[in-house]
C-alpha cells in the first residue's frame, strides 16, 4: 500500500478544500479549530424525519443538519451546517427544530455567536407545513437571539445555495459571507421558469442564474458583506472578520435597512439585468465581473463599497 497521499496541516487542508464540494461535516471540521466540534443530537441518536417514510423515501440519521458547539480561534461558537445533498438541504420538522433549539440556547447565553452554514433549497416538500413553520420559528429565534446580543453569521457557498425560506433566514442574520458559487434567492430558477415561462427566466442559462442570484451579485448589491473564495479556510477567515465587524442589533438597524432597501429600489428598480445594476454602480466593464478572479473581485467590491453593515 502507498502512504496516504495527503498529510497536511489543517489550515492547508481547509485552504485546499472546496466549500462548495465538501460535506456539511467536513465544512465544520475544517472551519472550526481542530477537534473542537461537539455535536448535539448526532447521527447516533437516529433522530430521523418521521415523515419521509410516508413517501417511501430514505432517511438520514442527522436529518441533514449538524448542530453543535465548537471553537473558532479559541473562542466558543455555536454552529449549524446543512447538508445540501440530502433532500437538497431542505428544512423539515426535525432539521429545523435542531436549529431553533440552538438559537434559543444562544439567546439565553447572549454572548456566544452562531454560525449558520446554509445549503438549502428551502422547505422540504414532503413535510412542507412543518418545514415552513420551522423556518418561521428559526426567523423568530434569530431575531430574538440578535436582540439579546448574539451575533448570527450566515455562510453561503454550498451546492444547493440558499433558497426559499433559507433566503429569508439569511436575510435575518447579522451578516453574511458568500462565495461565487453560492446563491441567495427566494424562488429558484426552475420555479420561476415553471410559473412564469422561459421568457421570464431561462433556468438552463446558468450564467443568468448566477448573475441574478449568485455570490458576486449579492456582494456587489451589499446583501453580503464579505466575499469568500471557494475554500473552507476562506470561509473561516470570513467568519472571523464578520464576528469582528458586527455591532449590536436594535431599531436603528431596521430603520437603516429600510433606507438601504428603499434606496436600492430607487437606484436599481428599473434595471432589467444584473449587468445594468453593476454598470449603474459605476463598474466600467460590468460584463467582465463574472470572470474576475476572487482577489480582483474583492478589490472591486470594496471599491464599490456597498454593504449592509449596521443596516440589517
Amino acid at each position: 500500500m502507498t502512504a496516504p497521499l495527503k498529510d497536511v496541516a489543517p489550515a492547508e487542508r481547509a485552504r485546499s478544500t472546496s466549500f462548495y464540494e465538501a460535506s456539511a461535516r467536513t465544512r465544520l471540521e475544517l472551519l472550526l479549530d481542530a477537534g473542537s466540534l461537539i455535536e448535539f443530537i448526532g447521527p447516533g441518536q437516529r433522530e430521523v424525519s418521521p415523515h419521509l417514510k410516508i413517501f417511501d423515501l430514505p432517511e438520514q440519521f442527522d436529518d441533514g443538519i449538524v448542530v453543535g458547539h465548537g471553537r473558532l480561534d479559541g473562542s466558543p461558537v455555536f454552529v449549524a451546517a446543512q447538508e445540501g445533498r440530502f433532500m437538497g438541504g431542505a428544512f423539515g420538522e426535525v432539521h429545523g427544530a435542531k436549529l431553533t433549539g440552538l438559537l434559543r440556547a444562544a439567546r439565553e447565553i447572549g454572548t456566544v455567536p452562531v454560525l449558520v452554514l446554509f445549503d438549502t433549497g428551502g422547505v422540504r416538500l414532503q413535510e412542507a407545513n412543518a418545514g415552513e413553520l420551522a423556518i418561521a420559528e428559526i426567523m423568530r429565534a434569530v431575531m430574538e437571539a440578535r436582540s439579546a446580543g448574539v451575533k448570527v453569521i450566515g455562510l453561503i457557498g454550498g451546492r444547493s445555495g440558499c433558497y426559499g425560506g433559507g433566503g429569508l433566514i439569511a436575510g435575518c442574520c447579522s451578516a453574511l459571507a458568500v462565495s461565487e458559487p453560492g446563491r441567495i434567492a427566494v424562488s429558484g430558477p426552475e420555479v420561476i421558469e415553471t410559473n412564469r415561462g422561459v421568457e421570464e427566466f431561462d433556468s438552463r442559462d446558468r450564467a443568468l442564474v448566477w448573475r441574478t442570484m449568485g455570490g458576486k451579485h449579492r456582494r456587489l448589491l451589499g446583501a453580503a458583506d464579505v466575499f469568500a473564495d471557494d475554500n473552507v479556510q476562506d470561509f473561516r477567515e470570513a467568519a472571523l472578520e464578520l464576528l469582528g465587524l458586527v455591532g449590536p442589533f436594535g431599531l436603528d438597524r431596521l430603520k437603516a435597512e429600510q433606507d438601504r432597501l428603499a434606496g436600492r429600489l430607487r437606484s436599481f428598480g428599473a434595471c432589467g439585468d444584473a449587468i445594468d445594476i453593476w454598470t449603474a454602480e459605476g463598474i466600467a466593464d460590468a460584463q467582465a465581473v463574472p470572470e474576475l478572479p476572487a482577489d480582483q473581485f474583492i478589490a472591486l467590491a470594496n471599491r464599490i463599497g456597498r454593504t449592509s453593515r449596521d443596516a440589517r
Binding site: P4, L5, S18, E21, E180, R206, A207, W210
Partner: protein, 548 residues
C-alpha cells in the same frame, strides 16, 4: 454515340436550375427551399452535413420544407443523425433510405423509426467507413454543408469545426455533385480558405450561426471516487508499464478523470514525458491542466469544442492551427491517425459480454458508433513498430520469433461495473444481438470486437486479455473484474485467483493503490471554473456548464 459525360451535363443542368434563385452563388435564406427544389432530384443521395458537433441546421429545415412532388425518396448519406429534422425528413417522406454513423441524441427515436419501417437502413458505419464509401458507392449527388464564413466567390472558412467538410466536398464536387453551403457570414476575405471556391456552387447566409453541441466537455465536479480509482488503475496498470505515449481517449468521465490525474497522480509516479504525450483527440477541456503542466506535446483533432477557441489559438505549439491562428480539425485524417499512429485507445461503453465484445446499442437506443470502432480496432495490416505495440504483441504471442511477430494496438475498455441507474456494464449477451434479430440485420451492431480488446479496467481491477490463453481464461478474466454484477458474481473464484497470481488480473493492492486514496482532491481541476483558471482565462465554457 456513347456519351461519357452525362453526369457533368446533369450537374450543369442542376447548377443552371439553381442559378435562377441565386445572385451569383449567393442565395437568400428564404429562397433556400426553392433552391433545393431546383437542384435536388428524387432518389438523390444527399449528404446533409450533420457531424457529431456541427450542424447544417438551416439547410436541414429548408430541405424538410420541400414540395414532395418535386423532391422525395432521398437516400441520406451522412455521418450524424443528430437534429430532430434529420428524422423528420423520413417521417415526411422527403427521404427514404439512410446510411449513417452516429445518432447520439436521436438514438431512441431512430430505433422506433427503424422498428416502424419508416427508415430503410443501409448500414450503421464508422466514420472512416462511411467516408470511404463516399468515394466508392455512396457518393453524394448533393452535399449540404456548414461553414463559418464565405467570400463572394464561394471560398469557405470552416473554422475550428472543420470536421467532415473537406471529405464530403471532395467526394461530391469531384464527382459531378452539387455543393451548397450555409455560412454564418459573407465577408470580403475569409480568414483562411478551407474549401476553395471552385468546389462550392451555392452559398446561403444563415439567420443565425450553425448549431454546435459541446459534446466533449465533462464537468470535473461530476467525477466520482469510483471513476478516480478506475483512472488510477489505468494509469498505473496500463499507461505506465506499456509507456503509452500516442493515444486516443474516449469522451466518458473515466477518461476525463485520467486527464485530470496526469498532473497529480501521474506526476507523483514520475510518468511525465513518458506517457500521454501525443493525442488524436478533440480539444477536451479536461486536458487543459495536463497541457499547462507540460505533459502534452501535440494534439490532432477530429473537431473542436465550444469555448476552446481562444485557448487553442494561444497554444498553437500543441494544436494544429491555420495561418489565421484558429484550429483546423479534420475528422477523416484524425480517424486515420487514431487507427494507424496511436498505440492505445481507451474508452467506455454501455455493455461488455463474456467474450469482450462491446456495444453502445441497447434494444431501445441505436446511438451509432462514430469513431470508436476505428479507434478501438487493431489495424491488421503492416505497421511501424513502437514500444507499446511490440510489448503487447509479445504478451499475446510469446512464442513466435520477434522479427515476424505482429504487434498489438492496446484497446482498453474502461468503466465502472455499474453504470447509470445501476445498470450493469457486464452482460451475458449484448442487447445488440437481440436488436439484430428483431431488425433482421445480418450483422449485430457490435462497436468493438472482443478479439481487438486487450484490457478491461473497472474499479475492481485490470484484466489483461492479452495474457489469456483460452476462451475460458478470457471469460474468467472478464468476470474477475466485473464486480458485483451477475456476471461478476458467477465467477469461478479459484480460476480468478490463479489468473491474479499470473498477473492477468491485477487488483488495486497488486498495483500499490489504496482505494481509500481515490479522492477528489487528486483531481487537478475539480470544477469547470478550475479549468478556466488553469487556462489563464482563455477557456470560455458555455453557459450550461457554469456556476458563476
Amino acid at each position: 454515340m456513347t456519351s461519357w459525360q452525362n453526369n457533368r451535363a446533369a450537374r450543369d443542368a442542376r447548377i443552371a436550375a439553381g442559378s435562377s434563385v441565386a445572385r451569383g452563388k449567393i442565395v437568400e435564406a428564404h429562397d433556400v427551399t426553392r433552391l433545393l427544389e431546383a437542384v435536388v432530384r428524387p432518389g438523390d443521395r444527399v449528404c446533409l452535413e450533420g457531424d457529431n458537433q456541427k450542424q447544417a441546421d438551416l439547410l436541414s429545415r429548408a430541405l424538410l420544407a420541400v414540395d414532395l412532388s418535386r423532391v422525395n425518396d432521398l437516400h441520406m448519406v451522412q455521418s450524424g443523425v443528430v437534429l430532430p429534422e434529420h428524422l423528420d425528413l423520413f417521417d415526411r417522406g422527403v427521404a427514404k433510405r439512410l446510411d449513417y454513423a452516429y445518432s447520439g441524441p436521436q438514438s431512441a427515436r431512430i430505433a422506433r423509426m427503424l422498428f416502424g419501417g419508416k427508415i430503410e437502413l443501409g448500414a450503421v458505419h464508422t466514420y472512416l467507413e462511411l467516408f470511404a464509401r463516399y468515394f466508392i458507392d455512396l457518393t453524394p449527388h448533393v452535399a449540404l454543408i456548414a461553414a463559418v464564413s464565405a467570400d463572394r466567390e464561394g471560398n469557405l472558412y470552416t473554422g475550428p469545426n472543420t470536421e467532415d467538410t473537406p471529405t464530403v466536398v471532395e467526394a461530391t464536387a469531384f464527382k459531378d455533385g452539387i455543393v451548397i453551403a450555409q455560412v454564418n457570414e459573407i465577408l470580403e476575405t475569409v480568414p483562411r480558405v478551407d474549401i476553395p471556391a471552385d468546389r462550392v456552387h451555392f452559398i446561403v447566409k444563415a439567420d443565425k450561426p450553425f448549431f454546435v453541441e459541446p459534446l466533449f466537455t465533462r464537468d470535473p465536479a461530476a467525477i466520482t471516487e469510483g471513476q478516480i480509482l478506475t483512472a488510477m488503475l489505468a494509469i498505473k496498470g496500463i499507461y505506465a508499464p506499456y509507456s503509452v505515449q500516442r493515444l486516443n481517449h474516449g469522451i466518458g468521465f473515466s477518461t476525463a478523470a485520467i486527464e485530470l490525474l496526469l498532473p497529480t497522480f501521474g506526476e507523483r509516479l514520475g510518468l511525465k514525458g513518458r506517457i500521454a504525450t501525443h493525442f488524436a483527440l478533440n480539444p477536451h477541456p479536461a486536458l487543459i491542466p495536463a497541457i499547462e503542466s507540460g505533459w502534452v506535446r501535440q494534439i490532432h483533432s477530429f473537431g473542436s469544442e465550444v469555448g476552446m477557441d481562444d485557448y487553442i489559438r494561444a497554444r498553437s505549439d500543441v494544436y494544429f492551427t491555420g495561418p489565421d491562428g484558429s484550429l483546423r480539425s479534420n475528422r477523416a485524417f484524425c480517424q486515420t491517425a487514431g487507427l494507424y499512429a496511436c498505440d492505445m485507445f481507451i474508452g467506455s461503453t454501455l455493455q461488455i459480454d463474456l467474450q469482450g465484445n462491446s456495444s453502445t446499442v441497447t434494444t431501445s437506443r441505436i446511438a451509432g458508433f462514430g469513431g470508436a470502432p476505428n479507434m478501438g480496432a487493431d489495424a491488421r495490416g503492416r505497421r511501424h513498430p513502437s514500444e507499446p505495440w511490440l510489448r503487447a504483441g509479445a504478451e499475446a504471442d510469446p512464442d513466435s520469433p520477434a522479427p515476424l511477430r505482429r504487434g498489438r494496438k492496446l484497446v482498453v475498455q474502461i468503466g465502472e461495473t455499474f453504470g447509470d441507474k445501476n445498470v450493469p456494464l457486464f452482460v451475458e449477451n449484448l442487447d445488440a444481438i437481440e436488436l439484430a434479430e428483431k431488425l433482421k440485420l445480418e450483422l449485430a451492431p457490435v462497436m468493438i470486437y472482443g478479439d481487438d480488446v486487450t484490457h478491461i479496467v473497472t474499479e475492481e481491477g485490470v484484466a489483461n486479455l492479452l495474457l489469456c490463453r483460452t476462451a475460458q481464461e478470457r471469460e474468467q478474466a472478464i468476470r474477475g473484474v466485473a464486480g458485483y454484477t451477475d456476471v461478476g458474481r458467477r465467477r469461478d473464484r479459484g480460476m480468478v485467483a490463479r489468473l491474479r497470481e499470473r498477473g492477468v488480473i491485477r487488483r488495486p493492492e497488486d498495483l500499490g493503490i489504496n482505494p481509500l486514496d481515490a479522492d477528489r482532491s487528486l483531481l487537478a481541476a475539480r470544477s469547470i471554473k478550475d479549468l478556466v483558471r488553469w487556462s489563464g482565462g482563455l477557456y470560455a465554457p458555455p453557459s450550461k456548464f457554469r456556476n458563476w
